[in-house]
Chain length 198, copies 2
Amino acid sequence: MATIDFWFSIGSTYSYLTVMRLPEVQRTTGATFRWRAFNVRRVMIEQNNIPFRDKPVKAAYMWRDIARRAERYGLSPKLPAPYPLQGLVLANQIATLGAEQGWVEAYTRATYRRWFEAGEPAGEEPNISASLGEIGCDPAAVHAAAQSERIADALDAATDEAMALGIFGTPTFAVGREIFWGDDRLDDAILWQTGAIR
Amino acid sequence: MATIDFWFSIGSTYSYLTVMRLPEVQRTTGATFRWRAFNVRRVMIEQNNIPFRDKPVKAAYMWRDIARRAERYGLSPKLPAPYPLQGLVLANQIATLGAEQGWVEAYTRATYRRWFEAGEPAGEEPNISASLGEIGCDPAAVHAAAQSERIADALDAATDEAMALGIFGTPTFAVGREIFWGDDRLDDAILWQTGAIR
């Protein structure tokens, strides 16, 4: 089976659900995923798309909806989690480095768990060092490398690539040029990829 | 089984899916619905929530997502449908009258079908008269009654009631004070109502 591109930004609330349940989805469906970090904040600013920050009623629903879905997936978040993230760019620069070095999935899951289950914002201390230490990375070395111009450029290039696909939010699943937005469209993306829907 | 409140505004794009598939959902699940029209545009203006009008990338995805879902439900819309609707308020005043007189569901389905499948905007001619005629109503009499102060007030009161429930968009399904937003949360609302999820 071909691989589905999982476009995410650490900083997205609904992506918590996807990040945490993807191992189980892989196990039960055989689907495989390529983890693609991008900067959803830049996309949203360019597209004048502010989903929650100035919309308290919609934001309250979002947390309730995540709580219900999390319970179904056997997750135990402490909600609402700190939002929005100050360190969104750094968090995703680290993920970009992790994709090069093979630990993007482990890091992203570790940092989301601390953010959503311990109330420590991703992209800042103590979350960064604790998450990296937990997965066997050297926090100081990663921190420096992730802020290099090369990694910053790589994240920007990935963000451009996401926008070229028509991506405007996260999580988004891409099967070729067909995109599926939202944790609740993961099943559709898998069905599409297998040819079960068209 | 208790009745689920189906809060809708004629003018919502995703509500097309719900409006068209609800008979089948009722048949297969035994769920019943109370059709509650409200003015989602007033809610969105008050909450600074502009989902699509100034967001072309997100809007393009919305039409594609509706097309995929429509195909799954056996529907054949011509997309994109005319959007946004100029006659949103009148369309929902007619629905409010229809709820009093017992034809809200038939009218809403007829007007959505013409809007999404024949390209005739709901809330204006020829859609209004054709939809009302099709379901056996007198278009002139309904048109006059729907614009009465009493019906306008009833729609406003329903909109206030929706906002008091925390509703910010449509379709929304309410089970008591628990709300589920989006055609893709209809299954969750039914599961919640039966006690299968909590």
